[in-house]
């Protein structure tokens, strides 16, 4: 399942919704990403821009790919957009499988692919001065390791 939303999310609630009433899930892995302050501590807020339509399609493609590669019982990707403050949640990935390895690996894969393929852009606001965050080379390398 894919959600792009301005609202916050609650990890416990989301995991409960995904696993409630099911007895075939033995492992749940969650990853959540938060807005980290810049090294100079000057970040006032961060605006998350996205490409409506393509973002949802791309996230769905990435999720489908994870489900092809690993035997997952359930998966969820939530990404927030709009104005966020340091410490706020940005992204949540939940993967559920019979055994832990598929859940760990697929959660890592989902994040690596999301970081390099899902059309989101971060714009930092340091009290009037705004700056588009540059992509990191290490994110591309992290995604490339999943290529077969």
């Amino acid at each position: 399942m894919i959600r792009v939303q301005t609202e916050d999310f609650d990890i416990g609630t989301e995991v409960k919704k995904l696993t409630e009433g099911r007895t075939d899930i033995g492992a749940v892995v969650t990853f959540s990403g938060l807005v980290r302050n810049t090294d100079d501590g000057a970040l006032a807020s961060m605006e998350l821009e996205h490409y409506p339509g393509m973002t949802e399609k791309e996230l769905a493609r990435i999720e489908a790919e994870a489900n092809e590669r690993w035997p997952l019982q359930a998966s969820l990707v939530i990404h927030r957009v709009g104005k966020l403050a340091p410490g706020d949640n940005i992204v949540l990935v939940v993967t559920a499988s019979a055994h832990r390895q598929a859940a760990f690996e697929s959660a890592s894969f989902l994040m690596d692919y999301l970081k390099t393929r899902a059309p989101f852009w971060k714009n930092e606001d340091k009290g009037g001065e705004t700056n588009w965050v540059d992509a990191r080379e290490s994110d591309g390398e992290a995604a490339a390791k999943w290529e077969v």
Binding site: K57, E58, H79, V91, P119, F120, K122, W132, A135
Partner: protein, 83 residues
């Protein structure tokens, strides 16, 4: 043809979205970029460094050689920074 721009590409081009009629000889994404650069300083600025320009044709990642025949939507943006 709908053209979309995001993040600093949008800011430099000075437009978020526009409907354009491309000249008949434009066949791929690089052709679209060359044509855009003739349309004004903003586009020239936005597309000055193509190493940091990414594109999508019909909401799927493409590259500069992606054909645009039959496409209804082309988007230009910097490398993504979500997550």
């Amino acid at each position: 043809m709908k053209l979309l721009y995001f993040a600093w590409v949008k800011q430099k081009a000075g437009v978020a979205e526009e409907d354009v009629t491309l000249p008949g000889e434009v066949r791929d994404v690089s052709g679209v970029i060359s044509w855009l650069k003739t349309r004004g300083e903003g586009y020239e600025l936005a597309f000055a460094d193509l190493s940091v320009i990414r594109c999508a044709v019909n909401q799927e990642h493409g590259d500069f050689s992606t054909p645009i025949a039959g496409a209804s939507e082309i988007a230009f943006f910097p490398p993504v920074t979500g997550g």
